[in-house]
Symmetry: C2
Subunit: 209 residues, 2 copies
């Protein structure tokens, strides 16, 4: 597991001395598919660095409605957790394991020192922020400018991309939640996508063609 951590950090441009430190102060954490890692209202003491698997970051409103913001994959970290922690604020989103995943949990208390000392870490952190901004903007684009039909198709393609699999194992209900719509609407539009030979529908499974 430490090998994976090392190679991902190296890939991210982190210098060897800091890789050492991160290895020493962090602890591993496994998360099974569907496991809830961060809940709204909690405060993060750890910066979660994804070793493998996929996490989803979801926004919730007061009535329990939801919308998917983006996925986190290997080598990435949750910039919004950082932002929250640095400001001492509560998280206002939830993070769930979309597949069995492994994280490296790094105590936030080291962040300021590292940002000061390591140029490579500054770069990594700012790059993370940038990537998340981009993802949020893309999410806003989808919600704002696309019809639900297009958004659904984009959702499936994004999911394919994140999980590196042409098969998506979700119920229509689950998809509807990520898009903040109803199951009936999703079923209707999926059927339409199937009729246009873009996907194939089975129970709890959608294959992208």
């Amino acid at each position: 597991m430490k090998d994976l951590l090392q190679s991902l950090l190296k890939e991210a441009g982190i210098e060897p001395a800091l890789i050492e430190e991160i290895q020493e102060v962090g602890v591993p954490k496994k998360a099974a598919t569907g496991e809830l890692l961060i809940t709204p209202g909690s405060t993060s003491m750890y910066m979660p660095f994804v070793l493998n698997g996929v996490l989803s970051v979801v926004r919730q409103d007061d009535n329990g409605n939801e919308i998917l913001l983006y996925y986190l994959e290997g080598g990435e970290t949750c910039a919004m957790s950082l932002a929250c922690c640095i400001e001492g604020k509560k998280n206002d989103f939830k993070v769930t394991a979309e597949e069995d995943s492994v994280l490296w949990m790094v105590p936030m208390s080291h962040l300021d020192k590292w940002i000061q000392e390591y140029k490579s870490f500054r770069k990594y952190i700012f790059s993370s922020y940038q990537v998340r901004f981009d993802e949020l903007l893309e999410t806003i684009d989808s919600i704002t400018f696309l019809k639900l039909y297009e958004r659904l198709y984009k959702y499936l393609l994004d999911k394919k991309q994140a999980t590196r699999s042409y098969e998506i194992n979700m119920s229509h209900e689950q998809i509807a939640q990520h898009l903040n719509t109803s199951r009936v609407v999703v079923s209707r539009l999926l059927k339409q996508l199937e009729n246009e030979n873009k996907i194939e529908i089975e129970r709890n499974k959608i294959s992208i063609l």
Copy 2:
């Protein structure tokens, strides 16, 4: 003008030595109402620090459709410009002066050094990121969870907040653009708001009650 800069920076917690530096290397810039400050596709060499006035940050799609992301007010800076510049990317949003405004333009080249040297600057930058994340999330909330009627009312209240004025001098067409809808729809819903005694409509002017 330098007085204003100084007091805003002090308020933001920036230490005196850095305030000096910022005063020395920055230059003032005035922007008249409606002036375009950042266009999609450009690259920012300066960090724009708002001294007074209000700027709007707007996202555009390929067909020229738009949506307002948030306003920037005195003492704030455009975290997305920072993010873009640090990563050497092009801006993918536009920034417009909503009122006559004055900015302090600080060359980005100093940022890394300041982040390294000044704890107060790290705090300011990370706080800016946090605030922008929050604003983007709030925007996502509005688009996702609110009906257009509610979104429009919230838009008017936000505008009131940003400009510190109960009178909004915009045409329905302009409002429609910020919400990515059509003028007719905005007129319809404004009329509804007027019927519920929440606003008063005149030509090019909406008063919030």
